[in-house]
């Protein structure tokens, strides 16, 4: 598989009134295209910070981050925004849908910022994305009329619509009951099988077990990095029954 991203000696510190708080203490990580990887760790471990840096929402303090073979250091805000618009996308724990907008409007949203998709084609892309999460019959519903699981599936459709290289899912099941959470994980699993690279950030082992590879983070360092393909399959089969 081709390399998607590569981190070398990544550090991240926050400065608050000259007091330095180090969050990541030197992360080395390589992720290839098509992987389904879970980043696990207790709260405060730095897993969210890592995801924000990987997703170009934040910058490392030191260390290198190569994305699609390109060093991302020195890119300005607009260039990072362009990467977020076209190459990566996010599914958040809190869904972050516009409440008084329809499902279709929510899914169309990222295309406003995507330079490569013509306005005339937007609706096709959006309908395709909505269909792939099984919500075509809800396209005209307001997002406030949907259940939590449906909301998260809309958020997944929104993440898919730009056909990104990489999808981040930040505690995607955190606000859902277990049945809805399972549905959402199945959608993500299907997307991975269709070739999408997915990085899942979670502290729940059952959710993480959908991934092929689990990276444990503790106190800003990678504690373990294990491929779990067989175990995940077994685990998933059990759950699906």
């Amino acid at each position: 598989m081709a390399s998607l991203l590569s981190l070398k000696g990544l550090h991240k510190s926050y400065f608050n009134e000259e007091i330095e708080t180090a969050v990541l203490h030197g992360i080395d990580l390589d992720i290839e295209k098509g992987e389904f990887i879970a980043i696990m760790g207790p709260s405060g471990s730095g897993k969210s910070t890592l995801m924000h840096i990987l997703g170009f929402l934040d910058r490392p303090t030191t260390g290198t981050y190569h994305f699609l073979g390109e060093d991302t250091a020195g890119k300005n805000d607009d260039e990072l925004a362009a990467i977020r618009a076209t190459k990566v996308s996010f599914v958040f724990q809190a869904f972050h849908l516009l409440p008084r907008a329809t499902v279709l409007e929510n899914v169309l949203l990222p295309l406003l910022y995507h330079p490569g998709i013509a306005p005339a084609d937007r609706e096709n892309y959006a309908q395709k994305a909505i269909a792939s999460v099984g919500l075509s019959d809800r396209a005209t519903f307001f997002s406030s009329q949907l259940s939590g699981g449906q909301k998260q599936r809309v958020a997944i459709a929104r993440a898919l619509v730009t056909e990104p290289e990489l999808i981040f899912a930040d505690e995607p099941t955190g606000n859902l009951d277990s049945a809805s959470g399972l549905q959402v994980m199945e959608v993500l699993e299907k997307l991975n099988q269709a070739g999408h690279t997915i990085i899942l950030v979670t502290h729940e082992r059952t959710t993480a077990e959908f991934a092929d590879r689990i990276v444990h983070i503790k106190d800003g360092l990678i504690e373990s990095d294990t491929r779990t393909h067989e175990r995940r399959r077994a685990g998933a089969d059990v759950k699906l029954k």
Partner: protein, 409 residues
């Protein structure tokens, strides 16, 4: 982000918060509405005044006795006797003056039986009627023969006719003016008001009769018609009267003269200075109301940015650049003020129209008029208000950190 996306995003955001958007716009609506209303009423009044001036004709001049006071406001000292009939004879000889019509006021009640009118009584030279472009509504006006033989004939203004005769025919009937009896020979056409005096509440008698009755050796005022250019005639009249009255006034100081020459052209000049004053007044009101409206917009936009912090975070996460966020919020505030401006424009016009309908029942010459420059300027200013007061909230939104914004509760 395409421009059309910007517009549709802004309009959707405003629609999603329709109640708040409406309330936010209210300041601008009222501001622009009042400006449009006031400028329309101002334009209507200007037309009313212009119609009074132009009814006199552009060659017409009026000379009053007295001297003009400082500050451009003219003041006539009543009873001043500077315009003698010897002056008038000399004025008639000027080649630049076509006709001269002196007026002598008579006093005393105007009566018909028990009906009484407080009309003004003008002893008018027959030229007066032609100078004023007046015609008779009934019967005839006074002519030179009436004047020569000092006939006890009277022409009534339409209001006097109404007062004394109601609907009945006044022609050939007798009325009493002061102590004498007069025969009504005609009714003048309606003039409305001239220089803000009711020109219809008048009784005209021959000048010779008024001179006999009062024994006056001077005219209360004189109307004249210039042959061609007002400017040349004005200089001639001024030179003649200064010469005769022994006034040294090479610097043209109106306070030194003992007469005042008015013309419709001068009245036009006064009108334009009045309308300049009105424009400045409206501009001040517009500036204040747009300032207040703009502060309201800024206030609401700042609240909106805070309320929508998570939306801003999301938009940034899905690829919006700081510039996109800035333009989005700026577009929203401009859309609010522009829409408010347009709604205000419509309301202002509707109210101005209603006022015109009501005003017409009091002032028949009132017409509905609009000031297009004021309308355009107030809407454009409203839109600019949106930019000026929207820029700071929009900038605040554009600079939000995406990670912090997404976590905002």
């Amino acid at each position: 982000m395409h421009f059309s996306d910007l517009l549709s995003t802004a309009s959707k955001s405003l629609q999603r918060n329709i109640a708040k958007s409406t309330l936010t716009m209210l300041g601008i609506v009222i501001g622009v509405g009042s400006v449009v209303l006031m400028s329309s009423v101002g334009a209507s009044m200007e037309k009313v005044i212009l119609s009074q001036i132009s009814s006199l004709g552009s060659r017409s001049m009026v000379i009053f006795p007295g001297s003009e006071q400082e500050g451009g406001a003219s003041q006539v000292f009543a009873g001043h006797d500077s315009l003698t009939f010897d002056d008038i004879e000399r004025l008639e000889q000027l080649t630049t003056i076509e006709s001269v019509a002196p007026i002598v006021f008579m006093s005393g009640p105007v009566k018909r039986g028990r009906e009484e009118s407080s009309a003004q009584i003008l002893g008018a030279h027959p030229n007066f009627f032609s100078n004023q472009n007046m015609e008779a509504a009934e019967g005839r006006l006074l002519d030179i023969y009436d004047n020569d033989r000092a006939a006890r004939f009277a022409v009534l203004g339409p209001d006097v006719k109404e007062e004394l005769f109601g609907e009945s025919d006044p022609l050939g009937k007798e009325i009493t003016v002061g102590d004498s009896s007069f025969t009504v020979v005609g009714v003048a056409q309606a003039l409305g008001s001239q220089f803000f005096q009711n020109a219809d509440d008048r009784v005209y008698v021959p000048l010779s009769v008024a001179r006999q009755a009062t024994g006056q050796k001077y005219a209360n005022y004189i109307t004249m018609l210039a042959t061609a250019s007002f400017d040349v005639a004005f200089a001639d009249v001024q030179g003649l009267l200064r010469d005769r009255h022994k006034i040294e006034n090479p610097e043209d100081d109106p306070e030194k003269d003992d007469f005042i020459v008015h013309s419709s052209e001068q009245a036009n000049a006064i009108l334009s200075s009045v309308s300049l004053g009105l424009t400045m007044f409206i501009t001040t009101v517009a500036a204040i109301s747009l300032l207040v409206g703009g502060i309201g917009i800024m206030n609401i936009m700042l609240v909106t940015v805070t309320e929508r912090t998570r939306e801003i975070g999301l938009r940034k996460a899905i690829g919006a650049r700081p510039r996109d966020i800035l333009l989005q919020f700026l577009a929203e505030s401009v859309a609010l003020t522009l829409l408010g401006g347009i709604i205000g424009l419509v309301f202002g016009l509707v109210f101005a129209y209603l006022i015109a309908i009501i005003a017409q029942s009091f002032l028949s010459t009132y017409v509905f008029a609009v000031s297009v420059p004021s309308m355009v300027a107030s809407v454009v200013m409203a839109a600019l208000t949106g930019i000026v007061f929207g820029i700071s909230p929009a900038r605040k939104a554009s600079l939000l950190d995406p990670v912090e914004s997404l976590r905002y509760e």
